[in-house]
Every structure is written in C-alpha cells, then in structure tokens.
C-alpha cells in the first residue's frame, strides 16, 4: 500500500482551488453577449392563469423578450417526466398530471413559473418581471395529505381522481395478518417524517448557449448527473438531439439529492437561448430555491409491530401517506416505495411485513429524493418503534434489538432485499463502549443535579446504497439503467486520466479515485487527474446519488484498470523478456520477480505509444474503458447513540454526546468518509431538532428563507465521536458499501429517542423545537 493508496487519509487534491477562490461554479460562467433570465412565478398555490400582459415589461430598459408557458407549449417543448413507473396494488399504472416547464393554464404551487423575462442585466430582468401583469383566477388549495384526501378537496389533476397518484403495497398481507392474530404484544404508533428543504449552499443555476453555426446547445448547470440531464432533455423535452447538446456540471456546491433532477429553469433557458439567439444565465436566489428546489421526506405513517411472548418480532404492518407535492418529479415515485418500504426490515428478523403506500398530490413544491431518500423514513419509523416497544416491555432498548438482530447472511427479507453481509452486534458493541452506556445513570443524575433532563437514545440503521442492478430496477419500473462507466487513459509519459460517469459535488472523487490508481500503479495521486461532469468529455454516466460513486463508479474504474494493467504487464514482459506471470508492480515500477530487472511504469506507457517494440499483433496505446453493473445493492449499517440534555424551563435540547459506529465496508479515504458522516449527522440532527417546512393552509410557504427555516449552525451541534467496524461488501471488487447518507439516516431516531427518554414519554415529533419539548414536559398541547 502506497502513501496515497487505498485506506490512507490523503488531503484532497481539489481543495486547492476551493480554498483560494478558484472554484468554477455555474454562476461564475460568463459568456460574450450573455443575457439574464428572471422568472415570473405564481403567488398562488392553485389558480387558473387567465391572461399575461407583457407589454409594459417589454418596454422597459434592456428587455429582450418575455416568454410564456403558452409559447413553450406551442414550440412543443415536452412536459417534465417521472422516470420510475409504479403500479398500484390493483395493477393500474400511477396516475400523473402533465408537468409543463412553465404553466400555460393552471398553477399548482406557489413559485411555479408562468413566464420568463430575458434582459441585458440581472437587475433589468428582475425589474421587468415585476411589470409582467398576470391575471389569475384563484382556486382552493390543499397542502397536506389530509386536506388533499378529504371528500371535498380541490382536484389538482384530472388524471388523478381524489388526488391519488397510486395505492401501492409490498409484502405478504395474509401472513402479516396471521402474525398479528397470534401476537402476545402489539405496539402501535403514528409517525410523521417532516418535510425538509435540501438547501445545498450553492443555489441552482443554469447558463445556456446556442451556437447557430453548429445548431448546437451547451448547458452549464448545477447537476449531480449531467449525462442523464442531456438524455432526458433530448429524449423527452425536444430541446436538441443528444449529439447537439453538451451538458457541463462544473464545480457544484452541494446537492444532497436536490440536484439530481432536471428542472423547469434548465429547459426554459435552453429553449429561450435558441429563441433569442443569445447566451442566457439564470441563478436562483435563496427564496426561489425554497420555492422551487425539490423538497424531501413528508410522510405520515400508521405503524404496528407484533411480538411474541419472548419479545421476538412476528410482523410489521405499515400504512404510509406520501405527499408528492403538485407534480411528479423525476424519481419521486420510487422514494416512498422501492427506496423506503424495501428497507422496513431494518436490522431485524421480521418474518412478515406488509406495507401500503398512498402517494398524494398537494399544492406544494414537488417532493423527491433528499439525502437518504426513503431509507431515513424507514429507519425513523422502525427505530422509534423499537425504542418505544422496549420501554413498553420494560426492556433495555439494546437488549430488545439484540434479541431480534439478523445474525446470518445472506439474509432474504420479506420485502425484496437480500442483505449480503453485516455484523450488527459488532457496531452496537462499539457504540456502547464508546458512549460508556454503563456510566449513563451517573451522568443522568449529575445532569439532574444541574437542573437538566438527560436522555439517551439509540438507532440501529441499515441502508441500501449503490442502487442496483439494472435488470432488477428495470423489472420494478425504473426507466434507467444503474450501471456506471469509466475510462482509464494512460498518457505516453505515464500520467493517467480517469474519465468517470459519476459526478463529484463535494464528495472528493478527484482524490479518492486517484488513490485507487495510485494503489494499482504505485504512482502519486498528482500523476492522476479525474475527468467528470462534461458530456463532451465522458461518453456516458449515471451521476452521483445514493452513495453509488464508490460502490459502482469505482468498480467501473477497477474493471477498466484491470484491462490497462493486463496490457501493461504484457508490454513490460515483452520488453524485459520475461514471463507475463512474473511481472510484479511495486512502487511505480514493473519488476521481474526473482531478478533485478525492472522498468518504471512511465517507460512501459511510453513503449505503448512509440509502438516500436510491442508483442506481435498488439495494438499501440494504453487506454481502456468499462461499464460496471452491480449485482446487488450494498448494505451499510451501524449504531448511533445520542445523549441530550434538556432545559426544562425553556425546552431547549442540547446534543451533548453523539456516537456513531458505522460499517461501510472498505474505506478508500477514512478522512473523507468521516467528513461525509459529519455532514449527514448535521442534516439528521437538523431534521430532528430544527428543520421544518411549513405551509399555510392556503399554500403559502411560511419557511422560505434562512430567517424562517432553521438551518443547523455551528452552535447547534456537538463534535461527533465516530467509530468503524468492517465487514466487506462481497458484491463489488473493492468491498465498498457507501457512506454518504448514513448520518442523515441513522441520527433522527437516535435524537428523538433520547428526547423521549429524557422527558419520560414517547410522544414527540420532529422537529423537536423548544416550544414542543417544553409543552411535552409541562403537559400542555404543543403549539405547532
């Protein structure tokens, strides 16, 4: 293992540009003749667009065009698609209403665009947008699942009767009913998973350029998957054929799921750039981001768990209502179904599971995947139930979990997934040791002496990463394959370029992917560059989400490297007149085992390109590509323990200790892995304590800025105590499981379980604001 190889805490190559202000984000792009777009957005949650009068705006300084939804439809720009078909339990396909990039007739959420102003400067576009006179006829709105399912609810789309998108189910209903009828104990809970706004710090942005000479378009955009954006823009939105559209996702300032999707603004800017024959830039302001970025979570569930007399789980029954917002977003249909209900077995042997999920339209921003996507919702539900059950039974919550852990692998759950490897007792042991569980009663007493309520809460999570295989997800309705591609190009001087279809927006691929090459070839990471995020450079890829870059993206690089190395060995053997099997790669040199013959890798590379002395019949050059389709998801798991102290006078909760013990399989760069966990924990603790998206009954977003939506700040969080156990993933060549979502998945139940432990009863919802916690302590109805 080299100093920069696998397992080393190598500082990041990409940091240099970020810490010196030389990062290149989409809003930093400037083109000659560039104009600026500002969208005219609906102030109503539900309304008919009666008329749009652009005359006054068009007369204002610098204004080039005002374009409306009607013109978009006239130009046959396609409606936004949902890429995963889910069928209801009666076999019927999900019911979807049309989702135009700008609304020509009806707006269904506050912030939906109806027109766009193109002007010479950003301020001119903004000023003119104010002057576009839109007449609306307001309609009644429904912002919650309950309101949308009420008998007299306003109907959002004619295609979806009763605002129901689907009524889906998974598992064995009869077996589950039987489990409950034979149960000694049944634990029931109503559980809400609060709606969140992803809030990457870089707001979404798009720069569109039309080259009339080549009849070609280029889009710089804040995307997690530029190739999928190009494919969808070409295949479904009628923007341009794929070979005439280049999509570049340069430095992207965080995504967390919200930048997976193709948004209306990207479609409109491309369409408009061709229409006005000028480059166009649009950059979201933060309130626009709150109003238009896909939101996350928003589940309401009724859950019941059946146990036998010995407290072994017999069955789980769940009915979940998922709020989809006003339209189906790109992957939204899969989040509360195949990414959620398939994880409802958690770390436990649950012989029978039956889950029903009703997807519902409401007059709110479309909801889609947000860090974890379905797995946090499943984990929150299960881990709240396990803790509550333990208290109901008078058992230690860790004992109840151990009694029900899956201990033999592979393990087939009743809800599709086959867990390949894990050791759940090991992570629980590691967490308990780190947190000094035995010392908790003394810490609680000491806190009480200081007038504080101290509680401890657990969460034993599992997640499914590297969503896969293509064949399996295809059979479940996915419209895309979930493989990844890579190409390894060795230059004649021995430096290496790796082209990957995954995308880095903070995950450090430029370093970790280079570490893999360093490990294989014994060269320094500075000899390696990672190319990603540009459809003109990389042939195709599926981008980054669901912790797929390591497990799937790096596996594709391994496959390409295997080919490169095999050819390089042949060349080296030929040059040194040795047997191929005797070639050993060590410290950047190709050596002949048992002799002092050796040559540096750079000379092998040079020989490949000079081509003067290669084995007979060998093609010159050293460049190989590969596509890798995984055989299964990967299953990271772990135990999180949270200790809180609550001020009973104010209801304020302080997280005083947070221990995470994760099993991510092999870690390429533990420093980067730990950073991913830290960030996930902050988002999960944020969800548990601070973050909540609030709509008024008539559909106004009340939390549409950082003045109103409580983002976790440095003072809200502790330093984290991280530990690792390791079972390698048997399904990919590196044994990687993935780490990106773990923190956000595992932490919310640990925090809420700790609060309920402190206050002495189980009734607490997220976010556990001081007002709610105070009310829970003092027995008053919480002001929502």
């Amino acid at each position: 293992m080299g100093m920069e190889g696998i397992g080393q805490r190598v500082v990041r190559k990409e940091d240099k540009r970020f810490i010196t202000g030389k990062g290149k984000y989409t809003d930093d792009v400037k083109l000659v003749g560039m104009t600026h777009a500002h969208f005219v957005r609906s102030p109503h949650a539900h309304a008919k667009v009666v008329s749009i009068d652009s005359a006054a705006a068009l007369a204002m300084p610098g204004v080039i065009a005002v374009l409306t939804g009607a013109e978009l439809v006239a130009d046959r720009i396609g409606n936004l698609i949902c890429g995963w078909m889910v069928h209801s339990k009666d076999g019927s396909p999900m019911k979807m209403g049309a989702y135009p990039a700008m609304a020509p007739e009806t707006v269904r959420y506050v912030g939906q665009a109806v027109a766009v102003v193109i002007a010479e400067t950003k301020n001119q576009a903004r000023d003119a947008a104010e002057a576009v006179a839109v007449e609306y006829e307001e309609l009644p709105a429904a912002t919650t699942v309950a309101a949308a399912l009420a008998p007299d609810a306003p109907q959002l789309h004619p295609e979806a009767a009763g605002n129901r998108v689907y009524e889906w189910s998974i598992g064995d209903k009869a077996a589950t009913e039987a489990a409950f009828s034979g149960a000694a104990h049944v634990v029931s809970m109503d559980i809400t998973n609060n709606r969140l706004v992803p809030n990457p710090m870089e707001p979404r942005s798009a720069v569109a350029n039309y080259d009339s000479g080549d009849d070609a378009l280029t889009l710089w955009t804040t995307s997690q998957n530029p190739h999928v954006a190009r494919l969808v823009l070409s295949a479904f939105y009628n923007i341009a054929p794929e070979h005439k559209l280049r999509v570049i996702a340069p430095d992207v300032g965080g995504g967390f799921g919200s930048k997976i999707y193709i948004y209306p603004e990207e479609i409109v800017c491309l369409w408009a750039a061709r229409k006005v024959n000028r480059p166009i830039k649009w950059t979201s302001d933060r309130t626009e981001a709150f109003l238009t970025d896909a939101h996350g979570r928003d589940h309401i569930s009724k859950a019941e768990m059946a146990f036998d007399a010995d407290h072994k789980i017999l069955g789980l029954r769940v009915h979940t209502y998922a709020n989809f917002g006003a339209y189906m977003s790109l992957f939204s249909s899969s989040v509360p179904t195949y990414l959620y209900a398939t994880l409802l077995s958690g770390q436990y042997v649950i012989p029978a599971i039956y889950a029903e999920v009703d997807g519902v339209y409401t007059n709110t921003v479309p909801v889609d995947a947000y860090r974890g996507a379905g797995r946090p919702e499943a984990t929150y539900l299960l881990e709240r139930m396990m803790e509550t059950a333990a208290r109901q039974f008078g058992l230690d919550p860790t004992d109840l979990r151990r009694k029900n852990f899956i201990t033999s692998f592979p393990y087939q759950t009743p809800v599709i997934m086959t867990y390949d490897a894990g050791d759940y007792n090991a992570s629980l042991d590691a967490a308990l040791k780190a947190v000094d569980y035995a010392g908790f009663p003394a810490r609680k007493a000491a806190a009480a002496a200081r007038g504080k309520l101290r509680g401890i809460g657990f969460s034993c999570y599992i997640e499914a990463c590297g969503i896969a295989p293509s064949k399996a997800v295809g059979s479940l309705g996915a419209g895309v394959g979930l493989w990844e591609s890579a190409e390894v190009r060795v230059n004649p001087v021995g430096t290496v370029e790796v082209l990957t279809g995954s995308h880095s927006h903070g995950q450090g691929h430029e370093t970790t992917f280079a570490q893999l090459i360093s490990e294989r070839l014994g060269i320094g990471i500075d000899q390696v560059s990672i190319v990603h995020g540009d459809t003109d450079k990389v042939q195709f890829g599926m981008g980054t989400y669901g912790s797929r870059s390591g497990a799937v993206g790096m596996s594709a690089i391994v496959k390409a490297m295997d080919k490169v190395e095999a050819k390089a060995r042949k060349i080296a053997a030929h040059l040194m007149e040795a047997a191929e099997g005797d070639i050993v790669i060590e410290g950047g040199e190709f050596k002949v085992a048992g002799t002092d013959k050796k040559m540096p890798f750079a000379l092998v590379a040079l020989a490949a390109y000079t081509g003067h002395n290669l084995p007979d019949g060998m093609e010159p050059g050293l460049k190989e590509g590969a596509f890798y389709d995984p055989t299964n998801f990967t299953f990271p798991a772990g135990t999180y323990v949270c200790e809180v102290e609550i001020d009973a006078d104010t209801g304020k909760t302080e997280v005083v200790n947070f221990v995470a013990a994760d099993d991510f399989g092999r870690m390429i760069n533990p420093m980067i892995v730990e950073g991913q966990v830290h960030g996930g924990l902050a988002q999960g603790i944020g969800q548990a304590l601070l973050e909540g998206t609030v709509y008024s009954d008539d559909g106004q977003l009340m939390t549409a800025s950082y003045m109103d939506y409580c983002m976790p700040r440095a003072d809200d969080l502790p330093s984290f105590d991280l530990h690792h156990t390791t079972t390698l993933c048997p399904g990919n060549p590196l044994g990687i499981k993935g780490c990106g979502e773990a923190g956000a998945i595992g932490s919310p139940p640990a925090v809420i379980n700790a609060i309920t432990d402190a206050i002495g009863h189980n009734d607490m919802s997220m976010p556990a604001t001081p007002a709610k916690v105070w009310a829970a302590i003092h027995g008053r109805a919480a002001a929502e």
């Binding site: 202000g21 430095d251 965080g254 950059t283 980067i672 800025s705 950082y706």
Partner: protein
C-alpha cells in the same frame, strides 16, 4: 451609474455600476473576482464574507458605493503568492470543506475571528462566532478543528478593537 473605486487585494480597481449594486455583485461581476459567493438573500449564510478595511463584512449587506475608497480583501487575496494563509492550509489539512461553496466566506470569517481573539480561541467561542456562516456539508466538526488549529499555529496576540 456611479464610478466606484477601491483597493481590492492590493490592486486599485474602478468600475461604473448602478447605485443599488451590492459589494458582492461588484466583486463578482464588475471586477470578475468570483471566489466570493452568494448563498442567500438575507445576510444569513456568510458565503459572501470579505474583509473591508481589515474587518469581516458580509458583502451582500453593503453597497459597492459604501465600500468606495476602502481596502477590500477577498479570498483570492489571502494567500501570499503560492504560500497559503495558515487558515487556508488548516482547512485543507483538517478536511474543513467538501463542496467548497461556503468555504471562502468561512475562511474570511475565521481569519477575522483569529485576528480578534488571537491564540485564545476555544471550541465554544469558535462555534458561537461561526453562527453567521452556514455550511451544509461538513457538520462544522472539521471547520471548528481547522480554526482552532490555525489559531494555535498563528499564535497571534488578540487585536485591540
């Protein structure tokens, strides 16, 4: 339009801008220094922090004309040639950044924090004084470590205010 002149990173600059132009837009658009970022509309996130006459300022909260005649330092002006400022180096060493978008503002805030407190910083103070800067990636854990380490290494006396 008004002609706004100032010293940015030691260089005299001048540009004609609308009176309503914010300092951040002046830096990013009029003089092409795009290291300073815009992350919100309400002066909450701190991605736009620069130094005006040596003090940390949210450049989305100040008009360009208000900064006219001042000495402004942006993230691009912090390193000395190829030598990183100790705070920049500490952020890299401690993995205090991921997507890098909040990082310029974080670093400028941290430099001013260390200027005011010298080597006397503790974790509680750092966390409290970072409240004006939001990071969505790192959970702050490594940012706090980086600032404490940089403060210790710089061993500065606290500035007299």
């Amino acid at each position: 339009m008004t002609t706004v002149s100032m010293t940015v990173n030691g260089r005299q600059v001048s540009a004609d801008v609308e009176d309503r132009t914010l300092l951040v837009d002046y830096l990013r658009n009029a003089i092409n220094l795009t290291g300073t970022h815009v992350g919100c509309d309400t002066s909450q996130c701190g991605a736009c922090v620069v130094h005006v006459d040596g003090r940390a300022v949210k450049s989305c909260t100040m008009l360009a004309v208000q900064a006219s005649g001042s000495a402004v330092t942006t993230i691009e002006g912090l390193a000395t040639g190829d030598e990183l400022h100790p705070v920049q180096a500490a952020f890299r060493e401690h993995h205090g950044l991921q997507c890098g978008f909040c990082t310029p503002g974080m670093i400028m805030t941290a430099v001013d924090m260390i200027r005011r407190h010298g080597g006397q910083l503790d974790e509680a103070t750092v966390r409290h004084e970072l409240e004006g800067n939001i990071c969505r990636c790192t959970g702050y854990h490594n940012i706090v470590k980086a600032i404490l380490d940089a403060a210790a290494k710089m061993q500065m006396p606290a500035a007299a205010e």
